[in-house]
């Protein structure tokens, strides 16, 4: 970064701060005032409580720490009316003696048991509030972090994946659009975490992996996002990193309608335009699916219109959500219906370097070409969910949840690749060989999950609860099509393009169906108070079906030149190289996973000590069946094993607002469904192999956390963790087959260690708030890498051979330093709310290389987002959100100089520090802006 851009950024930052400050200058009170804090009987701040002065226009709303101030009062006698949902209204007489008096009046509200229904589990706090989030963090048996709906609403996050990066210890893995997609918990690869909806595991639509892409879930249906960093015996045991639990909005205590509408624009679409293709012509079925397995496809079976793109200025992004909640039948039946729709036009400018490692001893990355990529993605996200709870009587209660989440992506990828080889590449003369590629890809992912839960107080000390869950995840990628052309740059002029051969069009889809049952018994005599015994079990039957078919197209005639034979894709004439398709690809498989689990858990709560201990037994039967096994392949296989997973949690209350928490748990991580299929995939560079012998990962996890909750919203958490990971799964080079072919294969590698420190700090000062967290992670794993050497290093004529060398490095996906900082301003009275948030992700091991010391690291990145909200009436808020203010780019480097031939220095483009590191990828997303209106109606309005 040069000085100029630095200055620009600084100016930008200053402008932002100025806006922020303008919005936040508090008015100074000159006359008498009343101030204080509104709390409940437990000294919990009641954020948002109303303090009215009867017969006067003055009122206040309790701030983030429960404080309120009513200023501009004359001397006299007043009646303050303090109210908050779920609490008895309180009237308090106050007399002001003189005009300069400042009266401090603390208010304690009493919970209204008649109004507050018992089935509102979380008690006094408003659902989705920060207060509720802090309460759960404090009282949970797990090491847990929570982001409340309120915090999400205030952030510019549109999907759950955006939200998770604000949790301490979490970083994200992005998709090619730059959108966060997967959670990396404490530097543990995404494989080590699982995803829950309302505590129930959901299957992934991802074809190769079992982890769920979090960008499919819209953030505005969340009540809160919970991240578990430790497990108790009643939770499924395959989360070594942690678990992400999306708690969806549930029925409120009284009628409530909430909605919001947002319009937005992404600056990149102004700069670069948006490449749109006609997705409506895409055939959902390939000719082979449509006409049978022996059908010989012809070019006329395929549409040509899907590969014609237009660079347009898209309509603004539109995001809307609506939720309705109410209670019926004397509050026995609760209903929450929510829907969300988002239509956004995302764009990314990206640079990718194609490179290989020099094979003559220098072991440096040597550049082959640079690709200029422009991604344009229309993302249509739709979600619909309902939550019903019915309280039959005091003993019996039923809950039904159904959710349908859909993410439809229409992605256009335009690549212009410049080859950097030889004398031919001459940036000063404007000469280079070029290749162009247009790809259009429609991806339709959906998750449907429905669960029926029952809660029964059987006999006095015994409670039973159960759940039956059906989930279905689908991923459909029809006609992923590419149009590849060759070209040349001569004298800075791009020459007419000719059509390249082997243009693929592929169909891929997969479906997962999970059927799960849970049953739990809780034994808790009233004399035990908070202590209890819990036992239960679960069974899941999972089936996956995966389909893959690909056709290759060659131009026919072979030479078709732009301007002569064609101008658009439709003009090109083709022949199909493999008219029958490729249905025997190993991606045509079925997989299953049947899990039986039982557990016993005890909780002992005596005075300051709370001990949670338990043991869980999980029995796994995981396997696959190839639909068209090839000779020499095992057509099916199963792994059957049993794990015993103990856990122990100790929480010691050092004082009323300070906990010391220790947790230990043992967890596993099962191989992906696809990883154990004995597949062979040709990829760039090394081929990829499945590994039917892949073992599950086992880990012992220890957490120690000191927690301080000075009041209901402030907190300070300091924790350390240590994980001993047995047989971690990583990808490394193996030699296979009679040819001794080097291939990339997932394998188990000895024992890895991962440890770190987490600090999470939240503090509100009346109208201001600071939220910050920081995580330091350190891990080590040893895997084998390859270097090229002469068989006899002293003899230059001896054969070049590959040698395996062990390398110790951090776990893949890990960043040593991760931090979040949010500055909040909230003026309840005037209805202003504002947040400036920053996410820092330090240098992170992005991808491992098969070669020694050639791993790819993403450089540290700071993302800065801003949002501003103003309540304009009792029912309406308007807001403005701006993301990626600094236009931070995501850069990936190999920490080695760019290879140069001896005595010949090529000026490679975009390489900012070729003496020390090699840039292999850089993504830029530019700023996005959204403004919107949020409305809510309560029963009493």
């Amino acid at each position: 970064m040069n000085a100029q851009t630095l200055t620009n950024r600084f100016h930008k930052l200053k402008d932002i701060l100025r806006i922020l400050l303008l919005a936040t200058v508090p008015l100074v009170a000159q006359s008498a005032s009343i101030k204080g804090k509104v709390t409940d009987a437990n000294s919990e701040a009641l954020v948002g409580a109303h303090v009215l002065v009867q017969g006067q226009p003055h009122y206040a709303i309790a701030g983030l720490d429960g404080s309120y101030t009513i200023a501009n009062l004359d001397a006299g006698k007043y009646t303050l009316v303090i109210s908050f949902i779920g609490y008895k209204e309180l009237q308090q007489e106050v007399t002001i003696q003189n005009a300069s008096e400042v009266i401090t009046l603390p208010v304690i509200l009493e919970a209204d048991q008649t109004q507050l229904n018992e089935i509102v589990v979380t008690g006094q706090a408003e659902k989705g509030s920060d207060t509720e989030a802090r309460t759960i963090e404090r009282t949970s048996a797990n090491t847990i972090n929570i982001i409340s709906a309120k915090a999400i609403a205030l952030s510019p996050d549109i999907s759950v994946a955006n939200v998770v990066q604000r949790v301490s210890g979490l970083s994200v893995e992005r998709n090619s659009n730059g959108d966060p997609q997967y959670a990396i918990v404490r530097g543990m690869d995404k494989r080590y975490s699982y995803t829950l909806i309302n505590g129930v595991k959901v299957p992934s639509p991802d074809n190769k992996n079992r982890y769920v892409p979090l960008d499919i879930f819209p953030s505005n249906l969340l009540e809160r996002l919970e991240v578990y960093k430790s497990l108790t015996a009643d939770q499924e045991g395959d989360a070594i990193g942690g678990a992400v639990n999306m708690v969806m909005k549930s029925a409120p205590a009284e009628r409530q309608i909430k909605s919001d509408l947002q319009l937005g624009y992404n600056y990149i679409n102004v700069r670069e335009g948006f490449d749109k293709y006609n997705a409506s012509v895409v055939d959902t079925k390939s000719p082979r699916q449509e006409y049978g397995t022996t059908y010989q496809a012809q070019p006329s079976d395929f549409t040509k219109k899907n590969l014609e793109t237009n660079n347009i200025k898209p309509i603004p992004d539109a995001l809307a959500s609506l939720s309705y909640g109410n209670r019926f039948v004397h509050n026995k039946l609760g209903l929450m219906v929510g829907g969300s729709f988002q239509n956004t036009y995302r764009g990314t400018k990206s640079l990718w370097f194609d490179y290989d490692t020099d094979k003559f001893g220098s072991n440096l990355p040597s550049l082959r070409s640079v690709q200029d990529r422009h991604y344009s993605t229309q993302q249509i996200r739709g979600a619909l969910h309902t939550r019903l709870d019915y309280k039959i009587n005091d003993q019996h209660e039923l809950k039904l949840y159904s959710g349908y989440y859909k993410l439809l992506n229409h992605e256009t990828r335009e690549i212009k690749e410049t080859f950097l080889d030889g004398r031919n590449y001459d940036p000063s003369a404007g000469d280079a060989i070029l290749q162009y590629s247009t790809r259009t890809k429609t991806t339709n992912q959906a998750i449907f999950t429905t669960s029926l839960q029952g809660n029964h107080k059987l006999a006095e000390p015994l409670t039973l609860n159960w759940s039956g869950v059906y989930s279905r995840a689908t991923n459909d990628q029809p006609d992923n099509a590419r149009f590849i052309r060759n070209g040349e740059l001569k004298d800075f002029v791009e020459q007419p393009q000719t059509v390249e051969r082997r243009n693929p069009r592929q169909w891929m889809n997969n479906t997962d169906i999970d059927r799960t049952g849970y049953i739990n018994f809780i034994f808790q005599p009233s004399s035990w108070q908070n202590s209890l015994l819990k036992a239960g079990g679960m069974y899941r039957n999972k089936n996956r079906d995966s389909y893959f078919n690909r056709y290759f197209f060659d131009p026919n005639p072979g030479l078709q030149t732009q301007g002569q034979q064609w101008n658009t894709y439709s003009d090109v004439t083709w022949e199909i190289v493999n008219p029958a398709g490729s249905a025997t690809d190993e991606l045509n498989y079925k997989a299953h996973e049947n899990i039986r689990a039982y557990y016993l858990l005890g909780k002992l709560d005596i005075n300051h000590l709370e001990v949670n201990t338990g043991v869980r037994v999980e029995h796994t039967d995981q396997g696959y069946t190839l639909k068209s096994p090839e000779t020499g392949q095992a057509p099916d296989s199963s792994q059957i094993y049993t794990d015993v997973l103990p856990s122990l949690g100790i929480k010691y209350k050092l004082s009323s607002n300070t906990n010391l928490r220790f947790t230990y748990y043992r967890a596993i991580s099962r191989p992906g469904f696809f990883e154990i299929v004995p597949y062979t995939l040709e990829d760039d560079g090394y081929q990829e192999l499945g590994n039917p012998g892949l073992k599950r990962v086992k880990a012992d996890n220890i957490d120690l956390r000191w927690e301080n909750f000075p009041n209901s919203t402030n907190q300070l958490l300091i924790g350390i963790f240590y994980k001993r990971i047995q047989d971690p799964i990583e990808y490394a080079i193996v030699r296979s087959g009679v040819n001794n072919t080097p291939s990339l294969q997932p394998n188990n590698f000895g024992t890895a260690r991962n440890m770190g420190l987490e600090v999470d700090y939240t503090k509100y000062f009346s109208k201001f708030g600071v939220r910050a967290n920081y995580t330091y992670t350190y891990s080590r794993i040893t895997t084998s890498k390859v270097i090229f050497v002469r068989e006899n290093p002293n003899d230059n004529t001896s054969d070049l051979i590959t040698k395996s060398v062990n390398e110790t490095r951090p776990l893949q996906g890990q960043a040593k330093h991760i931090g979040n900082l949010s500055l909040l301003y909230k003026d309840q009275q005037k209805g202003w709310e504002s947040q400036l948030s920053m996410v820092y992700t330090g240098e992170r091991l992005e991808a491992t290389s098969p070669y020694l010391d050639n791993d790819m690291y993403s450089r540290p990145i700071v993302l800065l987002d801003f949002s501003l909200e103003k309540r304009i009436s009792k029912r309406f808020d308007v807001f403005l959100k701006a993301t990626n203010l600094l236009n931070s780019s995501y850069g990936v480097y190999i920490k080695k100089p760019v290879y140069q031939d001896e005595g010949n220095v090529v000026q490679y483009p975009y390489q900012d520090d070729p003496q020390h590191k090699t840039l292999v990828r850089r993504d830029q997303y530019y700023q996005s802006f959204r403004m919107g209106i949020r409305a809510q109606w309560h029963k009493n309005d």
Partner: protein, 529 residues
Amino acid sequence: MKTLLNKFIALTAIVACVLIASCSEDEDKKPSAPLVTSDVSTLPIKFGDAKTFTVSVSAAGRVKDITATTDIGTVTVSDITGVGEATGTAKINYTAPFDTGSGKITVVVNDQAEQQVTYIVSVDVTEQPPVELTAGDVDGVWGPSRTYIVRGNLRVPAGKTLTVKEGVTVIVDGDGTQANSPEIDVEGNFYSYGTADKPVVFTVADAKQTKENIFAGLWGGILATSTSQEMVVLYTHIEYAGAPAVAGSTIVTSGELKEGDPRFGLYFNNPNGEFVMMHSTIAYTKDDGMRINQGKLLIAYNTYIYNGKTGGEAVNIKSGSLGDVAYNIFYQPATNGVKWSNSDGRTPQMDVNVYNNTAINGGWRQTKAGRGGSFNLEKTGRGKAYNNIAVNCKYGTRFPKSPDNPDVANCSLGYNLYYGNNDVISAEFYPSTGSVVKGDFETGNDISGATGANDPKFVNFDVTAFNYQTAANADNLDYPATMNFALKADSPALNKGKTGFATKFTSHTVGGTTYNVPAPAAYIGALGN
């Protein structure tokens, strides 16, 4: 003693009587000449078949001998009876040759009166009916001179051998689809022993041998697996191969090709195996003419015509290969005549010498700019590239730049002749996408210069008529006219070659025969004058 004496007296008396008797006959008249009859008068017979017939002789003068000769095939006489008697018989055993034709068997009978009679049986030799083969295992010997129609995938099982003799024509009944494009998988050994006069031909039915099908890829090719120890291909034509690979076939399961990728004319894949191919032709393939994934190889005196529609090499050699490629002609491949690289990094490191070859009009159908057009040594490969001619090829010999560069410390290059009839061509004798400029290695000894200079002066081929733009489009191609790439006496390529350098091997002993690796010639190119 007495009896011996008596016997002697008796014998003398008999001899005297006979002599008297014969003297008296001679004086009278000779006995009738022998009369020969046969149970056949004409003999229709198929290639290589054997037939026996019987002749009967009535010889008043007593049978003396019966012999037979033929002007086509072979004949023997056996079971002769009646010698010294008035009647006799003999069996005539005839074996047909492997050539179509008519001829005769001449049976000669002599009697003891010195009278000779000949008897003619006319022979009509016709071709054997074709052998039809459906999918399954094959081994043993094919031919000679027989037609085989292949209607399904054939396999030579591991440990077994298929020997194809001279004159065999194999017609593979393929249509270019994955469903119906047979291949011949060789898990054992494969020997195709054609001769200069009677080559072996692997092709498609006559009706399918059309200009439109030059790059159609109608059948799967001859594909060896890693268990194949030896392959010898002599005087063999392989044409119209390259149909898309089929799921479950070894070439797919081994990972060499993905289902649907075009197959090759020939494929060999055993680092410890021996591959010898000489005096053969691979023509009209959809992609690579042949690929040697690994193995010890000798590829010499072959001709390659029109390999690859829009990409593909005539000869593609990968890591794990060692050997020599010499005296071959590469006529208009899509990309290179020879691409040899250490790609996939197998052991041993690829080391192949490519010398005394002639590449004509290469590289133009490859749609990708920057790819090679004559001889390409890549990806940590090593070897020598001497004495090659490249005429009107898109690029001269190319050593790519890092990261695809060959093991230049162990590469040699020079003494090559480049000719281009257009500036576009002469500008790329030393390819701008490669690392070599004239003067590097031994390229100072190259014969190369301006456009139109250094015409190698082929006996029958006009190098000036070439149009590179027309050549870029496969649809413009027709079967090549007669051509002869031998050099005229005034060729600049004569006596400019490098001699004396070591070939990778000196000989290969395969299938019981030793094949010597030809030494480099004093001239440049595949053929001298």
